[in-house]
Structures are given as C-alpha cells and as structure tokens.
Amino acid sequence: MTIANYLVLAAVLFTIGAVGVLVRRNAIVVFMCVELMLNSVNLTLVTFARSTGTLDGQLIAFFVMVVAAAEVVVGLAIIMSIYRTRRSASVDDANLLKY
C-alpha cells in the first residue's frame, strides 16, 4: 500500500462530503457530510503521521475528533429545535437570517 492510495481515498471522501453539503437539503444529511469531510481530513493527518513517523498528525486527529463530537452535540440540538418550530429539517427553509 503506498501513501497515495490513502490520500486518494481521503480526497474522494472529502469531495463526496463537500458535494453533499452543497447539494443536499436535509440538515441531517448535510451534517453527516460535514462529518465525512472531517474524517477524510483525519485520515490524511494520520497517513502523514504514519509516513513521517511522528505523532503530531495523530495528536491533531484526536483534537479533531473531540471538536467534532462537541460540534455534533450542538449541531444536533440546533437541528432538533429548528425541526420543532418549522416542522422541517430542510436547510433551505431556515433562511430568515438574510439581507
């Protein structure tokens, strides 16, 4: 296994996540796509850490996971509250904050 394979996989995952964020309307799916992007980055970090033999990348990956966990908690709470008030989880329906 060369390092390139890991990186290509990470790039593919990231792209899927990014496209998902841009094209999907359901807030839960958007959320999962965001997680996908985060984890693709984690994969990259760990890959480079492994290839250089240092621990820095792995350390940062842990940080990302912790932050992602916190973000999930807050994000899900927001989605819940939006769904309760608007009876919809579409991100396009929650567009009050505009010009």
Binding site: V23, V91, N95
Partner: protein, 636 residues
C-alpha cells in the same frame, strides 16, 4: 499738532459726555414699558446735561495751554505688540463737534417730544436717539482710530435702527438695509485703513499715527488716504456711495434732522479733517477728495432740483452741501477751517430746515409731496418764518450763515489757481446757483401759491415744544456764520489743530467780487425757480412727459440704476455661480460618494440570501482559491 496734556478738573470727567446718553439709552431699552411715561424726559435730560458739561469742558479747555488734553480711561485691547488704550482726546476740533452734537441734539430731542407725542413707541425712539448721541460723541472724542471706529459703527447702528423705526413700512425697512449695506462698503475702507496703520506703525492712536506719517512710504500714505476717504464717502453719502442718504428720509423727521443732516453724515468731514497730516502728505489722495466733493455737490444739486418730496429735496441738498465740505477739506490747509465752519452753520440751518419740514408734515397729515402743499405761509407763521430764515441761510443770502461759510469755500477754490482752481470754483458757483433754484422752488411750492391740499387736511401750527427748537435753530442760522467768522473766529480756535491761519496772500479773484458773483448767480437761480413754479399754476401730479435732463435729475442721475447694473447684478451672478458650484460641485462630490457607497452596499447585501448552502459554496470557493494560491506559491 501741539502738545497734549493729561486732563485735569472737569476735563477728566469728559467721559461722562458719552456715559450720560449711553446710560439714558440703556435705562430706556432695559426698563421697558415702565419707562414709557417719563422716558422722553430722561432721554432729553441726559443730552441737555451732556451739552452743559460739554460747554463747561470747552470753557475750561480754552484756558489750557495748547488747548489739547488727553483722558486716559483703560486698556482696551492688549495682545502681543498691539496695545490699544481707550482714551479721549479733547481738543478744539472735538470740542466744536461735541457742542454741535449735544447742542443740536438737545434741541432735536426737545422737538421730538412734540413730534413723536402720538407714537406708541416714543420711548424706543428716544433710546435710539440717545444711543446715537453717545456713539457720535465717542466718534469725535476718541483718541485713536480704533475708538473712532467703534463710534463709527455705533452711529451706523443707530442710523439703521432709526431709519427703520417704523419697521412695519416696507419702504422704511428697505431704506434701512440699503443704508446699512452701503455704509458697510465704506466701513471696510476705514477698517482696512486701521489695519494698515497697525501693520505699518504698530499703533492706531492719533498721536502715534499722525505724528509719524513721515515714516511711511509715499504709496502707503496715499493708500491710507484713499481708504479713509472710502470710509468717509460711505458715512457722508458722497459719490459713489451717495444713494443711501435720500432713501434714509424714510425715518422720522427728527432723525433726518439730527443724523442725516447735522451730525452723522458730517463724520466723513471730521475724519478727513482729523487725518489732515495724512492728506497733507499725499497730494494725490487730496485731489481725489476734491474730485469726490465736486462731483457730489453737482449730483446732489441737480437731483435736488427735480424732487417733489420735501424731505428728498433737503436730503439731496445735504448731499450737495457735504460735497462743499469735502471740496473744502480737499483744498488742504486753506480749506479745513472753511469746511468745518460750513459744517457747523450747515448743522444749524439744515437741522432747522428739516424740523420745519417736519412741522409742515405734522400739520399736513404726514403728506410729503410738495405739489400738495401751497399757500402755507399764512397758516403756519412760525414755521414759515423759521424755515424762511434757514432757506436764506442755505442759499447764501448776504450776511446770513451760508454767505459767510459757503463763500469762503468758493473763494478758497478759486484761490487754488490754475485750471483746476477755475474749474472747482466754477462748479462751486454753479452749485450755489442750483441750490438757490431748488430751495426757492421748495419755498414757493410749500408756502406760496394756491393751496393744493388734499381733502380733509387742515394745516395748523405745531405746538410750542416743536416751534421753540425751530426758533433757536433759526437764530443760529442767521447768526452762526457771522459769529464763527467775525466774532469768535473758528480759525483761531482751531489753530492748535491745523496751525495758525495763513495770512491771506494774493487772491485769484478779490473776495468782494466773489461775493457779488455768487450773489448774482444765487439771485439768478431764485428767479429761474420763480419763473418755473412761482408764476405758473403747479399741477398736483408731476408731469410725465419731461425732458431727458429732468428725468435724469428725478432719478438722481440714475445712481440706483448704475449701482444695480454695475454692482448688484454682477454680485448676484457671482452668488448664483457660487451657489451652483457649491450645490453641484462640492455637495455633488460628498453626496455622490455617499450615494455610491449606499448603493453598492445594498447591492452587495443581496448576496446574503439566507441559504446556508450558497454560503457553503462561497466558503468552498474561497478555500479552493487559498489552496490554489498556496500551491502556486510553493510550486512557483
């Protein structure tokens, strides 16, 4: 100039001369309606008291060595090298003015008690009149050009307030504004002169400036003289700033008598006489004074011939007579005393004539059109006699005031010699003839002929409080000239200021011949006037079809039209252009910037759609850009 001594005794209290009328004005203005009942008495009392004090001071001054005292009051402005003290200079020149102002002023105050008796705002009238007297006294008593300037502006203010005394009449309000604006033109000249004095000599006191004229460059002295002359022209209604004075007749008649005939309008003559060393040092400035005087005396006399309003005739006569005074002081040392003597006698007879005109208006229901008078000699005997004496004095009837003082000016003009002497003398003689014409016309239209009164007008003599001042002034009109020339020679009294009167050298024309010549011209003028209006029936409305000369005279040689086309219109165009540049140019840049920012921000705001996914696309695009840039930099 002689040595100036510090004041002692009564002279040290000469500041009271100014303080008394000023206090009267303050009490009347601040006291409000409570002072309505006795306000006129207080106003008159302060001026009478000032006259008595002025008389006492003058008597004491006569005994002082050198006849010139200085009263140091307080430090007025002290900043850097500028140190202006407030002080008074009591010398023979100020003394004659103090006596003229307070004497004639007191008489006119007394007269006003009767004239303004039915006016609800009589107290305000007396307050302004007192304010005027105080400012005028400061003008003539101040010992520096700055003090003179303060008084100068004070009389301008009082004049403005009094012309517009009946401010509900649009004509009066407009006339007051006209007077104020035209005076402002002159005042700028005076202010610049004061600045030049300070810049060049570092002082503005008479002693400091007039004693050091020799230190100045010739051009500076001429500029100083011309700037002072501009100020004098504005205040004295001289060409080219003469147009405001006839309009100022919209004010009450006592105001016309005191301010616009006897005192304030002669301030220009005072200014030039006081600044004699400056004009002595600059023959060109003095020539300009001569020309201004000669032109004005002709304009005033010509315009006076065609007016139908009794006060306008007297106003143009004033313009013309002050032209004589300017001509006199422009002649230099030989003319100063003649000019000032004419100023004093003119103060008497012109004030008397105005009071007489006021008395006529009082009896005729405020009618001022002489074509609606006629035959008043029998109805108003006192007015007729006093007015008649003033008239004779003005036209220069032998041995009355005008004869002594005006002939002296004409003589001095001829004595100048050369072409200019003959020219100026000729103009002065012609002016005397025109004076006789318009004054005789006025007399005939008012007091003689068939009554042409409006219906319901019952002419009656004015009350004693008005006729007594007229009688006193008439006596002055008769005697002042003789007294000032023969009994108490003004030339000797003013010697400390202008130097000893020069011994009469060779006269260009013998004085007796001048007198005969002038008398003949005056007689001719009077006869022509009789041929025009005395012999014929006078139409009640002025004929519309008249020769161009008469039309020009009616419009005062089109002075207003000239001012309007030369100054007012271009000024208006300039203002409009400036307003346009301001609105479109300056405001355009500011408003345009604001509008551009506002517009673009509202357009940019459209990008905030509220759709999270489009924000996400923006972030992604940005991130790709940053990453691309990083790659490009590292790779490149």
């Amino acid at each position: 100039m002689s040595e100036t001594l510090p004041a002692t005794g009564l002279l040290a209290a000469s500041w009271l001369l100014i303080a008394l009328p000023l206090a009267g004005a303050a009490v009347l203005l601040l006291g409000g309606r409570r002072t309505d009942r006795w306000g006129h008495l207080l106003g008159t009392g302060t001026v009478v008291a000032a006259f008595v004090l002025g008389l006492a001071c003058t008597v004491q001054l006569a005994g002082v060595d050198g006849r010139s005292v200085d009263v140091d009051l307080f430090t007025f402005i002290q900043t850097g090298s500028l140190d202006v003290g407030a002080g008074l200079l009591f010398d023979p020149l100020s003394a004659v003015f103090v006596l003229l102002i307070t004497g004639v002023g007191a008489l006119i105050h007394v007269y006003s008690i009767g004239y303004m008796a039915h006016d609800p705002a009589r107290r305000r009238f007396f307050a302004y009149l007192d304010l005027f007297v105080a400012a005028m006294l400061l003008l003539v008593l101040g010992n520096s050009y700055v003090a003179l300037y303060v008084g100068w502006e004070g009389v301008g203010l009082a004049s403005y307030l009094l012309i517009a005394f009946w401010y509900t009449r649009p004509a009066a309000a407009t006339a007051a504004k006209k007077a104020f604006v035209m005076n402002r033109v002159g005042d700028v000249g005076l202010a610049l002169a004061v600045f030049v004095m300070f810049a060049q000599l570092g002082t503005t006191s008479y002693a400091g400036v007039l004693g050091n004229v020799g230190l100045l460059a010739g051009g500076t002295v001429t500029a100083l003289g011309l700037l002072l002359l501009l100020g004098a022209c504005g205040k004295s209604g001289q060409f080219p700033l003469q147009a405001w004075l006839p309009d100022a007749m919209e004010g009450p008649t006592p105001v016309s008598a005191l301010i616009h005939a006897a005192t304030m309008v002669t301030a220009g003559v005072y200014l030039i006489a006081r600044s004699a060393p400056i004009f002595d040092a600059s023959p060109s400035a003095r020539t300009v004074v001569l020309v201004v005087g000669a032109i004005t005396l002709m304009i005033g006399a010509i315009a006076g011939c065609a007016q139908d309003d009794i006060k306008k005739v007297l106003a143009y006569s004033t313009v013309s007579q002050i032209g004589y005074m300017f001509l006199a002081v422009g002649l230099g040392p030989v003319g100063y005393v003649a000019g000032l003597a004419h100023l004093l006698t003119h103060g008497f007879f012109k004030a008397g004539l105005f009071l007489g005109a006021g008395s006529v208006m009082h009896g005729m229901g405020d009618q001022t059109d002489m074509r609606r008078y006629g035959g008043l000699a029998g109805k108003m005997k006192t007015t007729f006699v006093t007015f008649g004496l003033g008239y004779l004095a003005l036209i220069g009837f032998p041995l009355l005031s005008g004869y002594w003082t005006k002939d002296a000016i004409i003589e001095a003009a001829f004595d100048r010699g050369g072409v200019s002497g003959w020219l100026l003398g000729g103009v002065a003689v012609l002016g005397a003839g025109l004076t006789a014409f318009y004054m005789t016309r006025l007399m005939l239209l008012t007091f003689f002929g068939r009554p042409r009164w409006d219906d319901g007008v019952h002419p009656h003599e004015s009350p004693g409080v008005m006729t007594v001042p007229m009688v006193v002034l008439a006596v002055g009109s008769v005697a002042a000239g003789f007294l000032l020339v023969e009994v108490f020679p003004l030339a000797d009294w003013l010697a400390p200021v202008f130097g000893e009167p020069a011994e009469a050298a060779a006269h260009a024309i013998p004085p007796l011949l001048v007198s005969v010549l002038v008398s003949l011209v005056v007689l001719l003028g009077a006869v022509v006037a009789w041929l025009f209006v005395g012999r014929r029936e006078v139409p009640v409305t002025a004929p519309a079809r008249v020769s161009p000369v008469v039309r020009a005279a009616r419009h005062a040689i089109y002075a207003d039209a000239v001012n309007e086309s030369l100054l007012m219109r271009p000024g208006m165009w300039l203002t409009r252009a400036l307003v346009f540049v301001d609105n479109r140019g300056v405001d355009g840049v500011v408003n345009g910037t604001a509008a551009a920012l506002g517009g673009s921000s509202s357009r940019l705001g459209r990008a905030q759609t509220g759709f999270v996914r489009s924000y996400a696309l923006g972030m992604l695009g940005g991130a790709v850009l940053v990453a691309g840039a990083l790659v490009a930099v590292t790779a490149g």
